[in-house]
């Protein structure tokens, strides 16, 4: 109950602020040329980036999972790998390559290259799990390979595609660093500018409520388009192995396409991070700056991971063992909150901690609480899957064997859930390590994490000095990407 209320803080804040500003003032702040410009920017960004991500993601997934592509196993990992590079590091790489970069076109370019794996991963997972017998039936009914793809395979990818598109959309709304670096204004960058100049002005708050409005719109659109569709495999027995379409003459173009894609999304930022690192020499590894940032990041990551898992466990337990309206509403409220941009959650916590409990403003606790809200779903998904592996019957079997309830819970349920909990905690940890926006807003004075340090250095055009932080963040993210990739395959199989 407490968690549910707690997770509604950001949403409540936005509503409260809009009401407190007053209708006329709010209308005046929202309907002005500047907002129109931001609106146009954001909408155009989404209108171009989301379809591009869908196209690249599905094409990549299809090539890897359903064709005779050479080296498909390597491509499978490489196409997911750009996710390991935080979007603002990607942006940094591109600005290093083309310093004059800016505007809508470069925003679309960087966002597409950063976020197409969000479509690719679920699409690939679904494709690898689709029952080939359905495609074979389509073939038996006289459909060729192309028509089979468009009439049978693509419809089954719908859930993966709408889910991926939603994620891309939410990331576009929430991203600050990547767009700030190329001086492309979206709602989020504008809110940050407002916050930095007026600290807690009504204008920034109104922009935040418009942003939240769009997030909710996206969520609603996704729920509507997903509807009740489920594409479960009907029938039992072992699933046949998927058929792969021989590429023949298209092998070389396919390889070149994937090579170009990974070169731009992965190779270019990596190259510039490494080049700046080398160019910077030994100077940039100043231990008195670098080590504290790393330690702070590790500390926050650990604290956030533990706190998030601790909060997620009872929620997952309720959802799996006692499903009902309460557990559902708990999950829903958290689902909405975690979809809100980090900047809104950050602003909400700043305001609440100043106005309601002044003592906690800019303390580590508030920042960890914000992390919990932002990254709870990552821990939840894992814990739910883990608890599903520890059915109630096992707990009862242990009790019938003379173990008191608490002991059987520890020896059986907790023990069986532990690997999943650890996986979820790792994901949360790594997400925190790369978090920039909320950390900038909420961290105690003088706190330096890898992300904020990278940000302050690259904002001062000290690209060489920023490189080691980028490198470390990428190194930390690599295992997270791998974990997410593995998890997606499991989830698609359920």
């Amino acid at each position: 109950m407490l968690i549910a209320l707690f997770s509604l803080v950001p949403l409540g804040y936005v509503v409260y602020m809009t009401v407190a500003t007053g209708w006329d003032a709010a209308v005046e702040l929202i309907f002005r040329p500047r907002v129109l410009e931001l609106l146009l920017n954001t909408l155009l960004l989404m209108a171009f980036t989301v379809p591009l991500c869908l196209l690249l993601g599905v094409a990549g997934a299809w090539l890897v999972e359903r064709t005779g592509l050479r080296g498909a196993r390597i491509w499978a990992v490489l196409l997911a790998a750009p996710l390991a590079i935080p979007a603002f590091v990607n942006s940094y790489g591109w600005v290093s390559a083309v310093p004059s970069l800016g505007g809508l076109g470069s925003g679309v370019l960087i966002a597409t290259l950063s976020y197409f794996p969000l479509v690719y991963i679920p699409a690939a997972a679904t494709l690898s799990r689709l029952d080939p017998a359905i495609e074979q039936s389509a073939a038996a009914l006289g459909l060729g390979a192309w028509r089979t793809f468009f009439r049978v395979v693509l419809p089954q990818l719908r859930i993966a595609m709408t889910g991926g598109a939603l994620l891309v959309g939410l990331h576009l709304l929430a991203e600050y660093g990547a767009f700030a670096m190329i001086r492309f204004d979206t709602f989020t960058t504008a809110i940050m500018v407002q916050y930095q100049s007026t600290f807690n002005g009504a204008a920034g708050n109104m922009l935040a409520s418009v942003l939240v409005f769009f997030c909710l719109l996206l969520l609603l659109a996704e729920v509507r388009s997903r509807g009740n569709a489920r594409y479960a495999r009907i029938g039992s027995g072992a699933q046949a192995k998927a058929l792969r379409l021989p590429l023949r003459g298209y092998q070389v173009p396919a390889q070149l396409f994937l090579l170009a894609l990974t070169a731009l999304a992965l190779g270019l930022p990596l190259f510039f991070v490494l080049r700046w690192t080398v160019a910077g020499g030994a100077d940039i590894w100043a231990a008195d700056e670098f080590l504290p940032a790393l330690l702070t990041t590790l500390g926050y990551g650990l604290a956030g991971a533990v706190a998030t898992t601790a909060v997620a466990f009872p929620m997952a337990y309720l959802a799996v063992r006692h499903p009902g309206w309460f557990s559902k509403s708990l999950e829903l409220s958290n689902y909405v909150t975690s979809s809100l941009p980090g900047i809104v959650v950050g602003l909400a916590f700043v305001t609440v901690s100043i106005r309601v409990v002044p003592g906690i403003y800019q303390t580590a606790g508030v920042l960890v609480a914000a992390y919990v809200l932002l990254f709870l779903p990552r821990a939840l998904v894992n814990l739910r899957a883990g608890l599903a592996q520890a059915p109630k019957e096992l707990d009862e079997a242990a009790q019938a064997l003379g173990k008191p309830p608490l002991l059987s819970f520890i020896q059986v349920t907790l023990r069986l859930t532990a690997p999943a909990a650890a996986g979820g905690a790792a994901l949360v940890f790594l997400a925190i390590a790369n978090e920039l926006t909320a950390t900038l807003l909420l961290s105690p004075n003088g706190t330096r994490t890898l992300a904020t340090e990278f940000w302050s250095k690259s904002s001062e055009i000290d690209y060489a000095g920023a490189a080691p932080y980028a490198l470390l963040m990428i190194l930390l993210s690599a295992p997270m990407t791998y974990l997410l990739f593995q998890q997606s395959k499991k989830v698609a199989g359920q």
Binding site: A397, Q399, P405, L416
Partner: protein
């Protein structure tokens, strides 16, 4: 050529196990349980003798698994009480949790702990501190238990997922036996196994439990399993026990038509009851305890109806199904001549289609007229109309 097949009915067992309640191990009184607004158990009374084997049989949704879970202590009853060895464990303010009831419990899929080896699963309930010899004694006990359930001791190191379904069930049984429970609860433990394995596993489990002298309650939806496994069968329907008795009694003298049809194929004919004789299309059939006089429904088991060399009762073969060892024959019954003459106007039968079983397939062809006779007694139920 038409020699009679040996009688198919088993001889009744002499002593039914329904023991007086003073000697009973488990005593259940007026037990109820609701899920939300839905009543799942509507007042169950059951007494199980020490060392006895009781099967609770019923269609799915009848509440039998809920009853077992209440006995195990996984759920609380709404009203009513459960006593073990004369001591109340649930109801009337008493509550003994599952882990203190000294029961063994084997779930439908075995519920083996996936993170433990077979040996550790079996040893899970053993308290090392209470065994002389510590770890060594535990290992010995595990081996002994695995042998008891006919499993190779080499399996001790395996994980549950490396075992077949039948092996998993045996490990689950060994694990439940480890603490030497006085009462063993089996929740459809054989239903996940395929047909051949099911019979073998059931026989092995029954033997082990019998030797150990453990009071056993088996929940199943398979009436053949219930009849062959237990010395007391309790038929559950709609949250109540419709009949409790030894297998022979519940099969040959079911309490009502629904129980009769649940426990096996039944031939139901309209009949006229006078004294202890029911007259129907198959002639006059003796009935032991008629529920009413006049119009009734008569129940016979198909194997009671035999093909005779000659006689007044006749039927025309409608169709046959060949199953190898036996053939089922669908017959349209003729009205016996002495009744058709109109002498007895109260006689309600004639022209019913019934199904019987016969071992000789070559006898019956569609359109052929067969003579029939009935072996043993029938059971009469009050007429439904």
């Amino acid at each position: 050529m038409t020699e009679q097949s040996p009688p198919r009915l088993p001889e009744p067992r002499v002593a039914p196990s329904v023991a007086p309640s003073t000697n009973s191990h488990l005593e259940i009184a007026e037990l109820t349980r609701n899920f939300g607004t839905q009543a799942v158990l509507k007042g169950v009374n059951l007494s199980v003798a020490k060392g006895g084997t009781t099967a609770i049989v019923g269609p799915s949704g009848s509440g039998k698994t809920t009853l077992l879970r209440l006995i195990a202590g996984f759920e609380h009853p709404a009203t009513g009480s459960i006593s073990l060895n004369g001591k109340k464990v649930a109801g009337d303010g008493a509550w003994v949790p599952a882990h203190k009831r000294h029961i063994g419990y084997v779930a439908q899929d075995g519920a083996l702990f996936p993170h433990l080896t077979v040996a550790k699963n079996v040893a899970f309930g053993l308290d090392q501190a209470n065994l002389d010899g510590g770890r060594r004694a535990v290992a010995d006990r595990v081996r002994e238990l695995l042998e008891m359930v006919s499993l190779d001791p080499d399996m001790a190191k395996r994980r549950p997922h490396q075992l077949s379904g039948g092996q998993q069930q045996r490990v689950a049984l060994a694990r439940a036996l480890a603490r030497e429970p006085e009462l063993m609860l089996l929740d459809e433990p054989f239903s996940a196994l395929d047909a051949g394995l099911r019979v073998a596993t059931r026989r092995a489990v029954a033997k082990v439990l019998n030797q150990a002298g453990v009071t056993t309650i088996l929940v199943t939806h398979d009436q053949a399993e219930a009849l062959s496994f237990a010395d007391q069968v309790a038929v559950m329907r709609g949250g109540k026990l419709a009949q409790i008795g030894n297998p022979f009694v519940v099969y040959t003298r079911p309490a009502d038509r629904a129980t009769a049809e649940f426990l096996g194929d039944a031939v139901i004919l309209d009949a006229w009851m006078e004294g202890s004789l029911a007259t129907c299309s198959l002639g006059g059939i003796p009935v032991r305890r008629p529920p009413a006089q006049g119009r009734v429904q008569l129940m016979l088991r198909p194997e009671q109806i035999r093909i005779a060399e000659d006689g007044p009762i006749r039927g025309v073969v409608v169709e046959t199904d060949y199953f190898g060892p036996e053939t089922t024959v669908r017959l349209k019954l003729a009205v016996p001549p002495e009744l058709a003459s109109g002498a007895d106007h109260r006689y309600p039968g004639g022209g019913e289609v019934i199904t019987i079983r016969h071992w000789n397939a070559s006898l019956a062809r569609p359109g052929m007229e067969l003579c029939l006779r009935v072996v043993g007694e029938g059971v009469a139920f009050p007429s439904e109309s």
